[in-house]
C-alpha cells in the first residue's frame, strides 16, 4: 500500500519544475557510500491482508471475561457518545494549537478540561495534560525541588511502584535523594522528615487500594516546609476529599479512569494541578482565555515563557507534545456523565469492591479489610501471585495483579472492581479462585 497521490505525470512535472532528472538525484547530498540500504522488512500488504494479519495477532491475546484487574488502570463504563465525539477527524488530525484562530476547538476543550481538573482536585491551575500519571508525578517532584531549592524528596511506598521507578529515572541524574516512607501495614506511617525535604509524595487511594490519612501527612509535610504532592485517581475525587481540601500543593495522577480504554496501559494521560503561587514553576502547556480584535472571547496557549521552545535549556521541562486527545476523551466523558453520572461510576465501583470483599470473606478467603479501601484491596493467596493470575486467566477470569514482595504481604494479589462488575462475575471469580487453589485459609486450616 502507499498513500502518496503522485502519478507518473505528476512526478515528471515536479522533477521538471525543480530541474532534476529523477527523484534519486534529490538525494545527492547523502553520503554515497551509505546510500540506499536494504531494509530488512516484510513486503508491503494490501488493506485486506494487513487487517487479516492484525486480527490474527489480536486473536493471540485471548478472550476477555470477567475482569477484576486494577493497579491504576480500570475498565469503567464509557458511554458510546464519548469516543464518537472525541475521535472526530478535526480533533484527531490537528496538532498543537499554534494558530489559535483556527484551533478554537482544541483550545476551548482544553480550557474546559482545565476547569474540570481544578474542580475535581480543588486546586487552582491545571496544565493541558502530561504523558501519564507516573511521568506527571516525576515532573511534580522536579517542581518541588525547583520551588524549595532543596534536594531530597520523600515518596510513600504506597505510591505505585512504576511511578516510583519513574521518579527515580527523572531525579537520579540531578542528584536528588529519594527516601521511601514505609506503610504500616497498609497505609503510610508518620513521615518523620526534617527541613531538608522538598516534597512529600503520597498516593490516594494508595497502590494497594487503601485510603491514606492525607490531612495528617500534609500537615506533617508542611511543618517541615515541604510541598505535598498528592497522587490521585481522578475518578475517586467524585467522592473523596480533593487535594485542595487537605491543602496539598500539587495534585497529579493518571486520567485513564476518567474515560479512556485501557489500551494495554497507553496512551492515557497525566494531569497536574497546582496552587496558584506555583504557577511560575509549572511545566507544560496551559490554555488561557482572552479576546480577539472584535472583542470576542477566545482561547490561546499562554504563559509560554516557561516552555522549551522559548526558554530552551532554561525551560521548566522539556515537555512539548502532551496527551491532548486522551485528555479530550476525559473532558467529553466527564461532561457526558455529569456530576451525578461520575459519582455513580465511582460509588458503583466502591460498592462492587466492597461486595466482592464480603463475598470472598463469606467464601472463606481473607481479604485485607482492616484499612478503609476504595475500589481495590489485597487478597492473600496460597500460591505465588503470578501463578494465580495465570491460572485464573486460563479459566477465563482476568484478576490478580501481583502484590510486589516489597510490601511484605507474602503471596497476595490486588483485586479491583468497577461499577460494571455483576454478581455472577463475582461468583465466577470465586469459583475460579477455588479451582486454582488460591484460598489461603483452607491451607492454614488443612
Amino acid at each position: 500500500m502507499h498513500y502518496h497521490p503522485h502519478t507518473p505525470d505528476d512526478e515528471r512535472r515536479a522533477l521538471a519544475a525543480i530541474g532534476v532528472g529523477s527523484i534519486d538525484e534529490l538525494f545527492a547530498d547523502l553520503p554515497a557510500e551509505l546510500r540506499d540500504p536494504q531494509l530488512d522488512l516484510p513486503a508491503g500488504m494490501d488493506e485486506e491482508a494487513l487487517l487479516d494479519h492484525l486480527r490474527a495477532l489480536a486473536a493471540k491475546n485471548g478472550a476477555r471475561g470477567p475482569d477484576f484487574l486494577g493497579g491504576g488502570v480500570r475498565r469503567h463504563f464509557i458511554p458510546s457518545v464519548t469516543p464518537h465525539l472525541a475521535l472526530q477527524s478535526e480533533f484527531v488530525t490537528a496538532y498543537t494549537p499554534y494558530q489559535p484562530e483556527v484551533s478554537q476547538g482544541i483550545l476551548q476543550a482544553t480550557f474546559e478540561y482545565q476547569t474540570m481538573m481544578c474542580e475535581l482536585t480543588g486546586l487552582d491551575v491545571s496544565n493541558a495534560s502530561m504523558y501519564d500519571g507516573a511521568s506527571a508525578t516525576a515532573e511534580a517532584a522536579l517542581l518541588a525541588v525547583r520551588q524549595t531549592g532543596r534536594d531530597r524528596v520523600v515518596v510513600s511506598r504506597g505510591v505505585h511502584p512504576e511511578t516510583r521507578a519513574v521518579i527515580e529515572t527523572y531525579l537520579r541524574p540531578l542528584g536528588v535523594r529519594i527516601d521511601v516512607a514505609e506503610l504500616s501495614p497498609l497505609t503510610t506511617a508518620a513521615l518523620g522528615i526534617g527541613d531538608d525535604v522538598a516534597g512529600v509524595i503520597v498516593q490516594q487511594p494508595n497502590f494497594l487500594g487503601y485510603l491514606e490519612e492525607m490531612r495528617r501527612l500534609t500537615d506533617e509535610a508542611h511543618a517541615a516546609g515541604a510541598l505535598m504532592i498528592a497522587v490521585v485517581d481522578p475518578l475517586s475525587l467524585a467522592l473523596l476529599a480533593p487535594p485542595g481540601a487537605y491543602c496539598a500543593d500539587v495534585a497529579v495522577g493518571d486520567g485513564q479512569t476518567l474515560g479512556n480504554p485501557p489500551a494495554f496501559g497507553g496512551p492515557t494521560f497525566g494531569f497536574m494541578v497546582v496552587r496558584q503561587d506555583l504557577l511560575r514553576q509549572f511545566p507544560g502547556r496551559i490554555v488561557g482565555q482572552t479576546t480577539d480584535v472584535d472583542g470576542k472571547r477566545a482561547f490561546v496557549l499562554t504563559l509560554q515563557a516557561r516552555e522549551q521552545h522559548i526558554r530552551r535549556s532554561k525551560a521548566k521541562s522539556n515537555i512539548c507534545t502532551n496527551h491532548q486527545l486522551t485528555a479530550l476523551m476525559a473532558t467529553i466523558n466527564v461532561a457526558a456523565l455529569g456530576p451525578e453520572g461520575l459519582r455513580q461510576v465511582a460509588a458503583g465501583s466502591v460498592e462492587r469492591a466492597h461486595a466482592l470483599a464480603s463475598r470472598l470473606a463469606e467464601a472463606g478467603y481473607e481479604p485485607l479489610t482492616s484499612g478503609r479501601f476504595f475500589a481495590e484491596f489485597v487478597l492473600p493467596v496460597a500460591r505465588p501471585a503470578a501463578e494465580v493470575r495465570s491460572a485464573l486467566a486460563a479459566r477465563g477470569v482476568h484478576a490478580g495483579v501481583p502484590v510486589p514482595a516489597e510490601y511484605g504481604l507474602g503471596d497476595a494479589v490486588l483485586l479491583s472492581a468497577t461499577e460494571r462488575v455483576k454478581d455472577e462475575d463475582i461468583s465466577a471469580l470465586i469459583a475460579a479462585l477455588d479451582a486454582v487453589g488460591a484460598r489461603r485459609a483452607e491451607v492454614a486450616r488443612g
Binding site: 538525484e25 494558530q99 480543588g122 491551575v125 461532561a335
Partner: protein, 481 residues
C-alpha cells in the same frame, strides 16, 4: 455575535446525559469514612447527550486539521493518518497492562516485531518503545548517554552536550533536564553545522552531540560522517533527533551515519495521529554498546514466548508506566507493514519531491529562500522584504490553509518552515502557491489588509499579551452568576 459558549454555559442543574449502571444501596460514609468524603460535589457540566453532541461537534468545526485542510507545518510532518491504523488500534484497545502475559502474546509479539522493524529502518541494534513523545525519547536517550559515560568512569568529566543553534528547543531543554550544560554551535553560511566551531567545542568534557539530520533548515548535513568521526574520537556520543526522519526513509540510516542513539516520532514519520497536541510516541534506539541502558520494559522473544523484560540492571529505568503509548505502537506497526521497505523509500522520495517543488514555486512568487539548493523534506523561506511572516500566516487562514511553522528556526529572521509531506498532491501544492500569491497581491494593494487578517475564521487575531498578563486559566463560576 455572542461568544461561543463553554460546555459549562450550556449546563442546567439536574439535566442528565449518559447513564452508567445504577448503584445499589450502600453506605459510602461507613465504608470510606466520613472524614474522607468531599464536602461539596465538583462543579461539572450537566447537559443532555444531544447538547453534548452539538457542543463538541461544533467545536470540532472550529478547528483546522489534516483531514480537512492542507497543513504544511514544518518539522511536524503533518501527513495523512491512514484510517486502517485506527481499525487496527481498536483490535487491541481493551487489553489491560496487568493481564497475564500469556493472554497478551499478540500485543507483545507486535511490540517485538516493531522493535525489529525500527532497528531495520534506522540501522540501530536495539529499541525500547517506552517513551511517550519525542522530547520524552530525547530524555531517555540522553540519560542512556549519561549512564554509558558513568559506566566508563567518565561521568564526572563529561558535563557538556553540544547542540546546533538551529536545534529544536527540546534538545537543550532535555540536556538540561538530564543535568548537562548546553553548548550551542553556530550554523555556517551553507546552513550546516559550522565545522570549525564544532571542532573547537569538542573535547574530553563533551558527553554528546544532539543533531537533527536533515536539520531544521531542511538541509542534509553533508559533513555528517566527519561530524561523527570527530565526536567519537573525542569520546562523545552522537544523538539523532528523529523529527525529520521522513526525509531519509530507506535512503540512508542514522545508524550507518554514525549515530549512537536515536529517537523517532511515531506521530510524525509513522502516521500516528497528532491528536491536537498528542499523544505522540518516541521510541529510542541504540547501537549495541548502549543496549544494556535502554529504558525498561524491553520486549524479548524467549523460545516461542514474548516477554516484557523489566529486570535489566543497567537500564536507565522506567520513563513512564506500562508499555508506552501502546495504541500508537499498533498504528505505527500497521503503517510500516502496509508500506514495506519499498513503500517507505517512496515516502522519502515524494516528501522530498514535494518540498523541492514547493520551494521552487514559492521562490518564483518572490519569497526569499536563504538556503537555495536542493533541500530535503522541508525548506525555510522568508517573506518578500517589507512583509511580516506572522501577517502572511494569518492571511493564509482565510484561504482555508494552515500556515507553515513560523519564526523557527530562531536563526533565520522571519522564518517560514514549510513541510508539505508526501501525501499531498501537486494540485494542493499549486493551490497553496496560488493562495500565497493572492496574499502578496493583496498586501501590495492594501498593506493594512494583511495586518487585519484573518477575517473569516471563528475568531480573529487574539490579544495574547492580555492572556499572559491577566491569566484566566479556568472558567470562573462567580463571574458567571
Amino acid at each position: 455575535m455572542a461568544d461561543f459558549p463553554l460546555i459549562y454555559e450550556r449546563s442546567k442543574p439536574g439535566r442528565r446525559g449518559a447513564q452508567p449502571p445504577a448503584v445499589r444501596d450502600f453506605d459510602l460514609a461507613a465504608a470510606l469514612g466520613e472524614e474522607n468524603l468531599r464536602a461539596e460535589a465538583p462543579r461539572l457540566p450537566e447537559v443532555s447527550e444531544l447538547d453534548l453532541v452539538r457542543h463538541y461537534t461544533q467545536l470540532a468545526h472550529r478547528q483546522f486539521s489534516i483531514d480537512a485542510n492542507f497543513y504544511p507545518l514544518g518539522s511536524c510532518t503533518m501527513k495523512y493518518n491512514p484510517k486502517v491504523n485506527e481499525e487496527a488500534a481498536k483490535l487491541f484497545s481493551d487489553l489491560h497492562p496487568y493481564q497475564a502475559p500469556e493472554t497478551a502474546q499478540g500485543a507483545l509479539q507486535l511490540m517485538h516485531e516493531l522493535q525489529q522493524d525500527l532497528c531495520a529502518i534506522t540501522g540501530m541494534d536495539a529499541f525500547s518503545l517506552q517513551p511517550a513523545a519525542g522530547a520524552h525519547g530525547e530524555l531517555a536517550g540522553v540519560l542512556m548517554i549519561r549512564a554509558y559515560h558513568e559506566a566508563r568512569g567518565e561521568g564526572d568529566q563529561r558535563r557538556v552536550v553540544i547542540v546546533p543553534d538551529s536545534a529544536h528547543g527540546t534538545n537543550p531543554a532535555t540536556a538540561a533536564m538530564a543535568g548537562y550544560e548546553v553548548v550551542e554551535v553556530p550554523t555556517g553560511p551553507s546552513g550546516e553545522v559550522d565545522l570549525d566551531a564544532y571542532k573547537a567545542a569538542m573535547g574530553p568534557n563533551v558527553a554528546a552531540v544532539m543533531l537533527t539530520n536533515p536539520s531544521t533548515l531542511g538541509l542534509f548535513e553533508r559533513n555528517i560522517v566527519e561530524l561523527a568521526r570527530v565526536a567519537h574520537e573525542a569520546g562523545a556520543l552522537l544523538y539523532y533527533d528523529g523529527a525529520n526522519l521522513n526525509a531519509i526513509l530507506g535512503r540512508v540510516r542514522p545508524g550507518d551515519m554514525g549515530f549512537d542513539v536515536v529517537h523517532l516520532n511515531l506521530h510524525k514519520t509513522f502516521t500516528t495521529p497528532h491528536g491536537g497536541g498528542g499523544p505522540g510516541t518516541g521510541p529510542v534506539g541504540v547501537k549495541a554498546h548502549l543496549a544494556e541502558f535502554l529504558p525498561v520494559p524491553v520486549i524479548e522473544k524467549r523460545g516461542e514466548e514474548y516477554v516484557a523484560v523489566d529486570d535489566r540492571p543497567r537500564s536507565v529505568g522506567r520513563m513512564r508506566s506500562h508499555f508506552g503509548n501502546f495504541g500508537n505502537l499498533v498504528r505505527a506497526y500497521t503503517y510500516i507493514r502496509a508500506l514495506g521497505a519499498e513503500g517507505l523509500r517512496q515516502v522519502s522520495g515524494y516528501a522530498v519531491l514535494n518540498a523541492n517543488y514547493l520551494r521552487v514555486k514559492v521562490k518564483e512568487l518572490g519569497f526569499r529562500v536563504p538556503f537555495d539548493r536542493i533541500n530535503m523534506h522541508e525548506f525555510v523561506a522568508q517573506p518578500p522584504e517589507g512583509l511580516r511572516t506572522l501577517d502572511v500566516a494569518k492571511a493564509l487562514l482565510d484561504h482555508g490553509m494552515h500556515p507553515m511553522t513560523v519564526y523557527f528556526p530562531l536563526t533565520v529572521k522571519e522564518a517560514m518552515m514549510i513541510e508539505p509531506t508526501e501525501t499531498e498532491s501537486l494540485e494542493t501544492l499549486d493551490a497553496y502557491v496560488e493562495a500565497l500569491g493572492q496574499v502578496l497581491e493583496r498586501a501590495a494593494a492594501d498593506p493594512a489588509y494583511l495586518k487585519g487578517a484573518p477575517y473569516t475564521t471563528p475568531v480573529r487575531r487574539l490579544d495574547e499579551v492580555k492572556a499572559a498578563r491577566q491569566p484566566v486559566l479556568r472558567y470562573e463560576f462567580e463571574a458567571a452568576d
